[in-house]
Amino acid sequence: MPAVDEILEGKDICICAGSGGVGKTTAAAAIATGMAARGLRVCVLTIDPAKRLADSLGLRELGNEATKVDPALFERHGIEMKGELWAMMLDAKATFDELVARQAPDEESRDRVLDNRIYQQISSALAGSQEYMAMEKLFELHTEGRFDLLVLDTPPSRNALDFLDAPRRLTQFIEGRSLRVFMRPTGLAARVAGRGASVALSVLKRIVGFDLLADLAEFFGAFSGMVDGFQARAKRVNSLLADPHTCFLVVCGPQGEPIDEAVYFHRKLVEAKLPFGGVIVNKVHYPAERLRGDGADLEATLTERLDDADLARRVAENFSDYQALAERDARNIEHLATELHTKGVIRVPYLDEDVHDLGGLAEINRYLFASSEQRIEIAAGRA
């Protein structure tokens, strides 16, 4: 079972992926912190507007520019920062605007897009636009080369795979420009497309309404000068994701459903030929397998030690509930390791305290960066 720093050896980019509610943001923050503590200049990015990352780093706000996190914050929790930790929260709309400005052939085309009413309505809400903009920012930061390692906390997607699909979706979206051609039914293009197209168009007008269709055509038309630029960039973003210096870490919880999603997600990564690094299972109940005795015996022993039969019964009951969860987690993780053909499953125990601050982050770090020997000790200590 490798530690995170071994997995990330020689990597420039670490993408934490997984479904929502599994502690992905905390894991991303802990990984970035640990790597920065080991001497790297690290930047952690999130596009989650829920302020989770800011909260877990003890920061009030995060902006669209990288901010350096005060190393003194970590020293209080026993983490010595040999490198630097930076953090930022991606503003999808601002990034989209920047991208348009960069790709526009001239100021007029730029303003035509930025001033377009539909663009203003959807530039932050377009399905997949957050995901794509995260990739875009990642690409930009990587090109600038200011950091040794970039850690991306992907958004809590309802489908964890949305962002893999994001560049393709954006390209499709740009291709909507064809609509403009169809909108001029007397044009050459329409004649080439044939009578079918004009019938389709008239049917479409009936459903959508002419005004909206014209607005959409104008909207897609505004992008027409940027298509090649967008496509070329999407291609480069894709090859960055597939680069061997990039590493995908799947983060999940130990329950059946998150485990199944992690298996599915891993399969998709492999299919897309993206570099899978390992899987982190959060909030694991550690079993005390070797200590399992007969429940009745335990209760009797406890009654003797505590001299309180009622308390002894509750302690035994609680222990058996906990053991059942621990056994479930162990089963699920074994299933996960088999499905992924990997021993690279990093377990983070379900900590007694809710993890939401730097103290919790430091605690999680112990597990993420533990050597194999340390892990055995940890497991023994928790049993």
């Binding site: 929502g20 509610g21 829920a50 302020k51 989770r52 539909i118 309505q121 959807i122 809400a125 399905a127 636009s129 958004p155 809590p156 997607s157 309802r158 489908n159 979706r169 499709q172 979206f173 740009i174 909507g176 064809s178 609509l179 497309a193 197209a197 389709a200 168009l201 049917v203 009936r206 459903i207 959508v208 309404g209 002419f210 005004d211 909206l212 607005d215 959409l216 897609f220 329950q255 459903e257 005390a288 200590l291 399992r292 335990l298 406890l302 308390l311 509750r314 302690v315 609680n318 222990f319 906990y322 059942a324 969860l325 479930r328 007694d352 305290e353 809710d354 939401h356 601050d357 049993a383």
Partner: protein, 289 residues
């Protein structure tokens, strides 16, 4: 968070009260059918238990259905779907998937169903996307209504927005966990729902609350016991003290949640069960009032 489990539990409860109920999933993850250990339901209304139905709303299927309802002629619909202009537009238009998904929810909620052989439901429960995406999802009709200033899409989007914001017929619940960040997010979500979508939250469910099994004095005794013991007694005493710690920190989060949200908070117990199936949902259903 247990959003699907609670959606199903609410469904079971309503069904038991004799209401013909349907649980709609919008993520195509089939979490609800999994709870019932049922095969995937897809874009079909399938009965899971007496009076309780389930559907997984697929945006492409919803679009086909919607267009057919508009055009009334299947051949015309198919012609449109085959045309390049339509496939470009359907793929490219931002928010269209969300819009047709909400459109299907609206259709399910109609007393006079639009689809052939559609029977009316007394209650439609939606397992909405998670925080972050949830707001954007519910905002879609409003956004479309403002993009299309006039015309059929404008009036239909307005109709969908009215469905979402109609307090008399539509209720909204937030599912939270008793932890720092989920509590913060739930409070922020309630505010955003009010300011961005125009929806007041009716109830917040705090899911997964640990029982308070031990008093403070007992926990102190058990901590002492753990220090002086080995083996299984030590492990059991430790498990008890950590349960005590979690139960306490969860109570503090519950108090924070109550201070920070306006809607009433209803707690639901953590279920010590390996997998949450239909029995668990039934047990939660009995706790919902």
């Amino acid at each position: 968070m247990g959003k699907t489990t609670i959606a199903v539990a609410l469904g079971l409860r309503a069904a038991e009260e004799g209401k013909r109920t349907i649980v709609c999933e919008v993520s195509s993850q089939e979490n609800a059918s999994r709870i019932f250990e049922h095969t995937e339901v897809g874009f079909h209304e399938v009965e899971m238990a007496e009076n309780l139905w389930s559907i997984s709303i697929d945006p492409d299927e919803s679009m086909r259905e919607y267009v057919l309802l508009q055009l009334k002629v299947r051949a015309m619909r198919d012609m449109l779907f085959r045309s390049r202009i339509f496939s470009y537009l359907a793929a490219a238009t931002p928010g269209l998937k969300e819009l047709v998904t909400i459109g299907k929810i609206w259709e399910l909620a109609q007393l006079d169903r639009k689809v052939k052989k559609g029977r009316k439901y007394d209650l439609v429960i939606v397992d909405a996307p998670a925080t972050g995406h949830g707001i954007g999802f519910l905002q879609t009709p409003r956004t479309f209504a403002s993009i299309a200033r006039v015309g059929p899409i404008h009036s239909q989007a307005q109709q969908l927005d009215r469905l979402i914001t109609d307090q008399a017929h539509t209720g909204t619940a937030i599912v939270a966990l008793p932890e720092e960040m989920p509590v913060n997010e739930s409070a922020a979500l309630e505010q955003e729902l009010r300011s961005e979508v125009g929806v007041a939250v009716d109830r917040v469910y705090l899911n997964g609350l640990y029982p308070e099994r031990f008093s403070r004095e007992e926990a102190a005794r058990l901590a002492e016991l753990a220090d002086g013991e080995n083996g299984i007694v030590r492990a059991a005493a430790r498990a008890a003290t950590s349960e005590h710690g979690r139960a306490r920190s969860q109570r503090a989060q519950l108090a924070r949640l109550r201070r920070r949200v306006e809607a009433p908070v209803k707690t639901l117990p953590f279920l010590f069960e390996p997998e949450l199936g239909v029995e668990a949902a039934q047990r939660l259903a009995r706790r919902l009032t």
